[in-house]
Symmetry: C2
Subunit: 111 residues, 2 copies
DNA sequence: AGAACTACTATGTATGGCCAAGTACTAAGT
DNA sequence: ACTTAGTACTTGGCCATACATAGTAGTTCT
């Protein structure tokens, strides 16, 4: 049990929420998402994001289309589905509740 | 990939943080913690909290002593260690950063 | 003594983040 | 033309956690 490991655990699920939200704002491909997550100081690596995108697609929450790039191999551009939007809304509520609950706990004073 | 499952994932790691914080505020045993977590709408069950407490103890973050109860079997009353306090502080910072980062992501408007 | 309750223990399953290695395509340098 | 570097995506395996479930042991009440 080390700090780094617990930090990883804290991110679980939240990453899915963030990525779904990024996709909901318009067409993006993996590197776009990595860039945005990194700039928000959420560290993510390829080995995390690609399997996650595959899961989201298999669950019908996102779709993608291949788009040729002028500077490298073709890219998968993702968009969110209706089902994905519904799911995202629910996650948003869950996130708010979780923040509220956690902050309630950690704001309690010594008894 | 269903909603419930993702909600569970979101809680991962945060639970450890909450429990460590509850213990830091004074001696408690498992049922006390369950009660407080439940009242904060963080659903937890026995099968989750006991193994977690064992992990925390093995990691040297908490200690416990047996205290006889007047209404049932003896209880393990937990207290936090110095190492646990340090760990808790780090987790607090991680939690704040995570909240900030996530809120930054989800507050972005459509591009 | 037996039933009900409380506190704790133990085992097995599923999931997700991550590492590491690998594939495939393009562009630039020689 | 061939090599090198860079980009984009894929895959297999590992580990840690939450949870369901079942079980043990002590106490109190009838």
């Amino acid at each position: 049990m080390n700090l780094e490991n617990t930090q990883v655990q804290m991110r679980k699920g939240i990453l899915e929420f963030c990525i779904l939200h990024i996709i909901s704002r318009g067409e993006v491909y993996a590197s776009d998402m990595l860039e945005e997550l990194t700039s928000a100081k959420i560290m993510v690596v390829e080995g995390t994001i690609y399997p996650l995108l595959t899961r989201l697609r298999k669950a019908g929450l996102v779709e993608y289309k291949w788009v040729e790039s002028t500077s490298g191999p073709p890219r998968k551009y993702f968009t969110i589905t209706d089902e994905g939007s519904t799911f995202l809304n629910s996650l948003g509520m869950t996130w708010n509740e979780l923040m509220e609950s956690t902050n309630q706990i950690i704001s309690e004073k010594q008894s």
